[in-house]
Amino acid sequence: MTGPHPNLTPSVIFGLGFLYLILFLMNVAWTVRSYKKDGDVNIPSLLGGGHAPVAFWWGLYAAFLSMVTFAHFTGSGNPDQFLIILPDFIKAPIDILVADPRLFFGITLLIFIGIIVFRRQLATPTAGWTLLNASLLFLTLSMTDYDFRQIVGKPDNVPIVAMLFIVGFFTWLYFNRANENDERAAKGLPPKESENNEKVLVWPDLVYSELICIIALTAFLFFWGVCLQAPLEEPASSVKTPNPSKAPWYFLGLQEMLVYYDPWLAGVVFPSVILGGLMALPYIDFNKKGNGYYTFNERKFAVSVFLFGFLPLWVGMIILGTFLRGPNWNTFGIYEFWDVHKLEALNNINLSDYWWGGFGMALPANPLIREFPGIVLTLAYLVFMPQLMAATVFRNFAYRMGFLRFMVFSNLVLMMAALPIKMVLRWVLNLKYIVAIPEYFFNI
């Protein structure tokens, strides 16, 4: 009798064979493309030296994939002896890295910075293809782990996995185009978009394309609906909620904020500010460049701030919420069993406890007095920080925006920064609330 949670079963191996087959076919196509476009590459002298087309290496890789595919199709009968799996010595460190929200956040930050810094190297087609291959290989290999499969393979989560690739693709696309335009700008050329800006016809260029898209997308949705059945869980009950109880995937970023902020802030104020702030952006922006074409160099600050808000703080949080948050809202590694019995020590205290406790005093009864350090700090953050920003790093901004626009801008930036700040405070100081007035449901 195999265990209840087998890492590999014949059907899993067989199914992965198809993934490898697709990967193989993709790379065959890429090899052809590479043969046509990439030219030659030096062969290290160790291997005999000389030149070979880049496509040779891709061909080699594709051949390797074909063998792996073959192995999966023929070796599915004996899961216990199947060797193409993700070994534990790789799983363990990955689990350690991602299971700690601090490390996870750090990694997303590093990736974000890496994207900005190495944008030129990463936004080439070959690098993009390599990254795609790497991520697909990672996904496929990880599928050999039972727990990973449970999370990623849940029909609920399939669109999120797709979203990750889509986000990656469009980020890559943006930088690819922006790099090109930036290079053109450096050479004094106009952006590429301005070269080919002739008008096109509504029919057939627009409407026909739209029609095709409608039909193809509908067909796709049909296929999806047939292949992946809607996941049904237990009947809803107010006395017995699922554990973990998760929001729809697109709200998981907001739900993650609930860990750190009171519901009225995380659920009401911040979403409103995000929506309002996004609407306000065109009125805050004073940079006239970058309209109608891709560029990074001309809008470094705007793009970086947006990407910071979008990648680590939104997409990153969705990943955290979807794949890493398990029962009891504990974080789990991607290869870790979602064990309901896992306990995490979660004792947090308020700033006022630190303050009055630090003086060896009991908490004052009056909430305003009790919470005055937090109130002062919060007010200082929202009132004095903008002044400080205007006086220092954002002097230029303050000058060009004017007072009102700058105050809106700086408050939006500060609110965005409030999330990582609170996260750090929580992790470092076990800080629960900066201002805690539960008597009036007012906690920050």
Binding site: M1, V200, L201, D205, Y208, I212, K240
Partner: protein, 1277 residues
């Protein structure tokens, strides 16, 4: 339109892409349609239709055979008939002029008749309009002249209608006359036609049915196939989802309660298909083949095609659970609205089946569905939703035991007293929600219940003995020894084991438990109070030898067992085994007196004891006074008491345990340290509410070591009693208002599995878990492997292995069944590796009961059925008064072990019999013809033949079933063919087959039974049947009476001198159809205070510790069980009308006697003749024992009028052996002996009836007699 090169994209390529996307879209749409249509239930329906077609074809074939021998012959015969009809027809048409004319005339008349009918209808409609207009006019109060006009219109039309109707009727007569004339000519042809229809009726009916499901015609077949197409099938296709809508049966899904929609019949198409007589159309059976033809050939149908078992109980309209009202999921659970195997949440019965289902249907544990279908082994649990009294599921005169496992679980819970710790409250507020198993209120709680009429008290007594006076009975050493491991002292004990279990096996646990044992014993002795003990009369020398005989004869062994070679064959286990009793008692006088008092008056020591008062009062014999209680006590004392070791424990452990209870809880750590040093509790008695009161020294100064030790043990003893909940089973002073310590179980069957704590059970079962300590996981893997390879050695092994496997599988999936099973099997295993991280007093305390795994499964079945979700009231089983009394009575029968002594249902023998092998009644000269008739009317004969057959010497013989008492049991050492059974039947049986009986019943519709059954068809009760061993098919053990049968065997060898009948008369009588015999109110009084009735018997009916209510129910029970009227019976024989009629009859039959005596005087005279007085006290004269050894003293006839029902009495007087074959009483007035000649002129029948009437008027006649001068007393002279 611009040219192609002007477009942004290549238009041709766009077309290609468009084409591809449209094709993809089409494929997607078709795929969607296919997936939507490709339901698995369609396959099941197709297969079922195929099976049904084949079955109908087979039936048709059979019908051909029955009608004509074969299909060809049938067709031939049919054709002949048709030819004949046709030739007659053509003859008429061609050569009979009259026929032709008449036919034409009839046709013309018919046309006219129809035309007139149509005209009449039109005119009537006009008339109705006129009437309605007139009515509207009246309503609207229109002017009188207008109204008059309307009336006139109506009148005119009405006159027309009447005229037309008359004409129409005349036309009809005319037509009918003509038709009759025609029929006279066509008579021959019509007869042939009718014969043809009759001859082909069965076949035609089958043809019609077949045509509707598997038509032969091409068009019909095409239409049928067309109706199965996607989309088309939405328009009333024959393939469709079948659903039972049950608006009043709700299911709770998460937050909401919705009506059930059971679609199970979509796939289980044959489930409710029953033929005439409730015979399954598709009987279930496992067939290896997948081919429906084979199923039909074997008449066995696999799931899901088979019919439901037990149509008498389920699904049919006449059963208590008709399918239209109950559907499926109320009993089976599961997802009723599902139409696929997977979604319906079928419940595999064991992991092997689960694997098979996984392969076949992709089955998996779906923990999202809260109500999966019950697996077969737990199926009975759902019965408890509606059957709150449970008893009818186990003992049911109509249906037998329909849920024996749930019933057994209920019995076990009552036997082991689980409810002492785990309350099962059957009420929520005042509403009944399930079985009610609660302790009766203690003396402390009783006033609360008495004060509040809305509080319904529990009814169950604690299962253990009272410990309120234990110090008078046993020593502290014994208590500790016993508690440590009860089965060590008494292997058959029901008391579970608390100590020495796995979670106390570590050194700390062992240390602490020895302290607890000592403390428990000390506390129990400390709390014990004394009762006054009786002693035998001064100087009485108890005789152990006599005690032994008395022990066996006076009824002790109906409930208790005692290991002794003389007592072999007795196996009573209602009360504890008494073999070891002597060892535990206090030594010397103290122990003896306690035992003596207990035997004589059990309630003195334990007021709620079930042990009855056996009337063991001293009596005098020629050899002097005998005190049976003293003799029995002497016998039981045997070798005297045993020494038990003084409980040993470690002082350090005492401190540890006290610390655990006190430090940081009742006292701060500092207070505790101080208390320990000074031995002075920091609070005074008035400030203490709990057990800590024991720690306050009530003497001067600080306690000395002994006092201190006693204080600590007393305190720990109290804490331990509370911790282990000892008071759940035993009465202990000071715990009257303590609450049960365990989880209440009334809704445990719905307990959220997430709230169960499996702890490390998975690991435990991986390494341990089996009784021998080996791994349960390995055992289960092995069992599943054996199931797969079919290598089990026996069915028992398979059952045991797969049972464990099922519950193991359930447990590792965090299921309730697995949890409770393991909890019962090894309650402390949930502490595996947990004791290391928790305090001693936090360890689990549930004890281990001496139950088998099979019993654990039964208990689990019961507890899982406790869901506290009663359906709508109309679904709850609500017995009528009779059934209610029967059910409640049944509980009392068990509670007081009535069945220990009395046989309630007789032995049943089924055996094969040769043609005419049953001697039916043939009149004897002594018999009263009238009596025989009346007997059959009074006690309806049951069918003897079972309809089954049995092979004897290669010959297939019909079998009969008879109830009664064995007279001679076969010697088991003889070869089966030499064995002989002799058997006395106790009820009249008839020898007609069902068909014969039915045809007779038909012949005399609404006839009286006597017109249907004549005495010649009946084997009279009391007949001796001899059954060769080779003919015996089966024996059904009797219900109860084990002790009586055992005692009979003892007495045959002893006092009864080898006479079995006499031995039976000395033993507790069977209570076969007792309800027909005694009057309810007498039985009630008798149960409350049994008087001595019989003088032959060696023991007396004891007096039970029974409430009035219980006595009432039990008295009603017997009448209810036999269908006799109760609670009140009339005695028509005492009423003037009856007596006047009898008098008239008497005067007519015996005019000369009538001049001398009235009817009653004549009867009274007969009763007081020399016959009855020989054996009975009657007419104020006491029984006098003579020297005749054949004279056996019978009951005092004085009681008869109050005790016996008149019908029974009459039958008894006709022939006592009809009622009780073993009786010594002869038939008093045989028909052929003209006894006591002048009285009734010696007519035995009249004498019999007269004596019965005299008995019924006994007191009236006695009184009259006492007022008459002696000389005038009626005598035979």
């Amino acid at each position: 339109m611009p040219a192609t090169e002007q477009y942004l994209r290549n238009i041709k390529r766009m077309h290609v892409v468009f084409c591809i996307s449209v094709i993809a879209f089409c494929v997607a749409t078709l795929l969607m349609l296919y997936k939507d249509h490709n339901d698995e239930w369609r396959d099941y329906q197709t297969t079922f239709t195929k099976a049904r077609t084949l079955k109908l074809e087979a039936e048709q074939q059979k019908a051909y055979e029955t009608a004509a021998g074969s299909q060809e012959e049938f067709i031939q015969e049919k054709n002949q008939l048709e030819d004949k009809r046709n030739s007659l027809q053509s003859e008429l048409e061609n050569s009979n002029e009259q026929f032709q004319t008449l036919t034409q005339e009839v046709a013309e008349l018919d046309r006219q008749y129809k035309q007139q009918g149509s005209d009449v209808r039109f005119k009537r409609a006009d008339r109705d309009v006129a009437r309605a207009n007139y009515d509207l006019g009246v309503r609207d109060n229109i002017p009188a002249d207008e109204l008059e006009g309307l009336k006139a219109k109506f009148d005119a039309l009405q006159a027309e209608v009447e005229a037309m109707e008359l004409a129409w009727e005349q036309k009809e007569t005319e037509l009918n006359n003509k038709r009759d004339a025609l029929a006279a000519i066509t008579k021959e042809r019509d007869e042939v036609s009718e014969n043809l229809t009759k001859f082909t009726a069965d076949i035609a009916r089958l043809d019609d049915t077949l045509d509707s499901i598997a038509p032969q015609g091409a068009v019909k077949r095409a239409k049928r196939a067309f109706m199965e197409w996607p989309i088309i099938d939405g328009f009333n296709s024959h393939m469709k989802v079948v659903q039972d809508w049950l608006p009043d049966l709700h299911v709770t899904l998460g937050m909401t309660s919705v009506a059930r929609f059971d679609r199970c019949r979509t796939c289980h198409q044959g489930i409710s298909q029953f033929g005439a007589g409730n015979v399954a159309e598709f009987p279930h059976g496992e067939v290896d083949s997948d081919d429906p033809a084979d199923w039909v050939a074997e008449n066995k149908f696999p799931h899901p095609y088979s019919s439901h078992p037990r149509p008498d109980v389920y699904l049919t309209a006449t059963s208590p659970h008709p399918q239209a009202d109950f559907g499926c999921t109320i009993c089976h659970d599961g997802q009723g609205s599902a139409t696929s195997f997977l979604n319906a949440q079928h419940g595999p019965n064991d992991p092997h089946e689960e694997h098979e289902w996984a392969e076949k249907y992709g089955h998996f544990h779906n923990h999202f569905w809260e109500l999966p279908m019950q697996p077969e082994r737990l199926r009975e649990s759902t019965c408890l939703k509606c059957h709150h009294d449970v008893v009818e599921l186990g003992v049911n005169p109509e249906f037998g035991a329909t849920a024996p496992k749930a019933y057994e679980g209920w019995q076990l819970i009552r036997k082991y007293g689980c409810f002492g710790c785990h309350e099962i409250n059957g009420y929520d507020g005042g509403e009944r929600i399930g079985p009610d198993l609660r302790l009766e209120p203690t003396a402390e709680e009783a006033p609360k219940y008495a004060a509040d009429p809305n509080m319904i008290p529990g009814e169950l007594r604690k299962v253990g003995p009272s410990l309120k006076h234990i110090a008078q009975k046993a020593s502290e050493e014994f208590i500790a020894y016993w508690t440590e491991e009860p089965a060590r002292f008494r292997p058959t004990t029901k008391m579970p084991r608390f100590f020495g279990l796995s979670n106390l096996a570590d050194a700390h646990g062992a240390n602490m438990s020895s302290v607890e044992l000592a403390a428990l014993a000390r506390h129990l002795v400390n709390q014990s109070t004394d009762v006054t003990l009786d002693t035998p009369a001064d100087g009485y020398q108890p005789n152990a030898e006599r005690g032994k005989t008395l022990f066996s004869e006076r009824g002790c062994m109906a409930c208790h067992s005692f290991n002794d070679s003389d007592f072999e064959g007795s196996s009573a286990d209602f009360g504890p085994s008494l073999t070891e009793t002597s060892k535990k008692l206090l030594p010397g006088e103290a122990g003896f007196n306690w035992l003596y008092t207990w035997i004589r008056d059990p309630q003195r020591h334990h007021p709620r004891s079930k042990m009855p008062d056996l009337f063991l009062d001293p009596y005098s014999t020629p050899d002097g006074i005998v005190d049976p209680a003293a003799d029995i006590a002497k016998f039981l004392q045997g070798d005297g008491p045993q020494e038990f070791p003084t409980p040993e424990y470690d002082d350090e452990a005492v401190k540890n345990l006290v610390t655990e209870y006190l430090a940081g809880k009742a006292l701060t750590n500092d207070q505790f340290q101080q208390f320990w040093e000074t031995r002075k509790y920091p609070f005074g008695p008035e400030q203490i509410k709990g057990d800590e009161i024991a720690l306050v020294h009530d003497g001067e100064g600080s306690p000395n070591d002994e006092q201190w030790n006693n204080m600590l043990l007393e305190y720990l003893g109290r804490r331990s009693v509370s911790r282990y909940g000892c008071y759940g089973c035993h009465d202990i002073n000071g715990y009257g208002s303590a609450r049960p310590i365990g989880t209440a179980l009334q809704d445990w069957g719905r307990k959220d599995p997430h709230r169960l704590a499996p702890e490390h059970i998975h690991e435990f079962l991986h390494h341990h878990g089996q009784p021998d300590g080996s791994s349960t996981a390995d055992f289960v893997n092995d069992a599943v492997r054996k199931a797969k390879t079919e290598t089990f050695n026996s069915e028992q092994e398979e059952e045991d292995g797969l049972r464990t496997a099922f519950f193991y599988d359930s447990l590792i999936h965090h299921g309730r069944p697995g949890f409770i099973f393991q909890k019962l099997r090894d309650p402390r295993s949930y502490d595996y590796k947990k004791v290391e991280t928790k305090g001693y007093t936090e360890r689990l305390v549930m004890p281990k009961f001496p139950i088998s795994e099979e019993e654990a499964e039964a208990i689990a079945t019961f507890v899982l059925g406790l869901v506290a979700e009663p359906p709508a009231p109309e679904y709850i089983y609500q017995p009528d008064e009779q059934a209610k009394d029967r059910n409640h009575g049944e509980i009392l029968l068990q509670k007081y072990n009535c069945v220990g002594c009395h046989m309630l249902e007789m032995h049943e023998m089924e055996y094969a019999i040769e043609e005419g092998g049953l001697a039916t009644y043939s009149p004897l000269p002594a018999d009263h013809a009238r009596g025989v008739k009346e007997l059959l009317k009074w006690r309806r004969p049951v069918a003897a033949f079972t309809g089954r057959t049995h092979e004897v010497d290669g010959e297939s013989l019909a079998t009969v079933k008879v109830a009664g008492l064995p007279y001679l049991a076969a010697d088991p050492e003889e070869a089966p063919e030499d064995q002989i059974w002799a058997f006395d039947s106790w009820e009249p049986i008839h020898v007609l087959s069902d068909a014969e009986l039915a045809s007779r019943e038909e012949a005399v519709a609404d006839g009286e039974l006597e017109q249907i059954l004549s005495p010649e068809d009946v084997v009279m009760p009391g007949s001796r049947l001899v059954i060769p061993g080779s003919h015996l098919v089966s024996r059904k053990a009797p219900r109860g009476g084990h002790f009586a049968e055992w005692l009979v065997e003892q007495l045959i060898e002893g006092r009864a001198n080898g006479n079995r009948y006499n031995a039976w008369q000395m033993s507790p009588p069977p209570l076969f159809r007792e309800g027909d015999k005694v009057q309810t109110d007498w039985l009630y009084r008798f149960l409350k205070d049994p008087e001595q009735l019989r003088h032959t018997i060696v023991l007396r009916m004891p007096r039970f510790n029974m409430s009035d209510e219980e006595a009432r129910i039990l008295a009603n029970y017997f009448a209810a069980a036999d269908g006799s009227p109760y609670p009140y019976q009339s005695l028509p024989q005492t009423e003037p009308a009856y007596l006047a009629a009898q008098q008239a009859e008497f005067t007519a039959a015996h005019p000369e006697r009538a001049e001398l005596n009235t009817y009653l005087e004549e009867s009274w005279g007969t009763l007081n003749e020399q016959l009855c007085i020989k054996c009975h006290a009657v007419g104020g004269k006491e029984f006098k024992a003579g020297n005749d050894p054949n004279v056996i003293r019978g009951p005092n006839l004085e009681y008869a009028s109050q005790r016996l029902r008149p019908e029974w009495t009459l039958m008894w007087l006709y022939n006592p052996r009809w009622i009780t074959p073993y009786t010594s009483m002869p038939a008093p007035f045989p028909n052929n002996q003209q006894q006591f000649k002048p009285l009734f002129e010696g007519n035995g029948t009249d004498q019999t009836i007269g004596v019965r009437d005299a008995l019924m008027n006994y007191f009236h006649l006695m009184e009259r007699q006492s007022h008459q001068p002696a000389a005038q007393q009626v005598t035979a002279n």
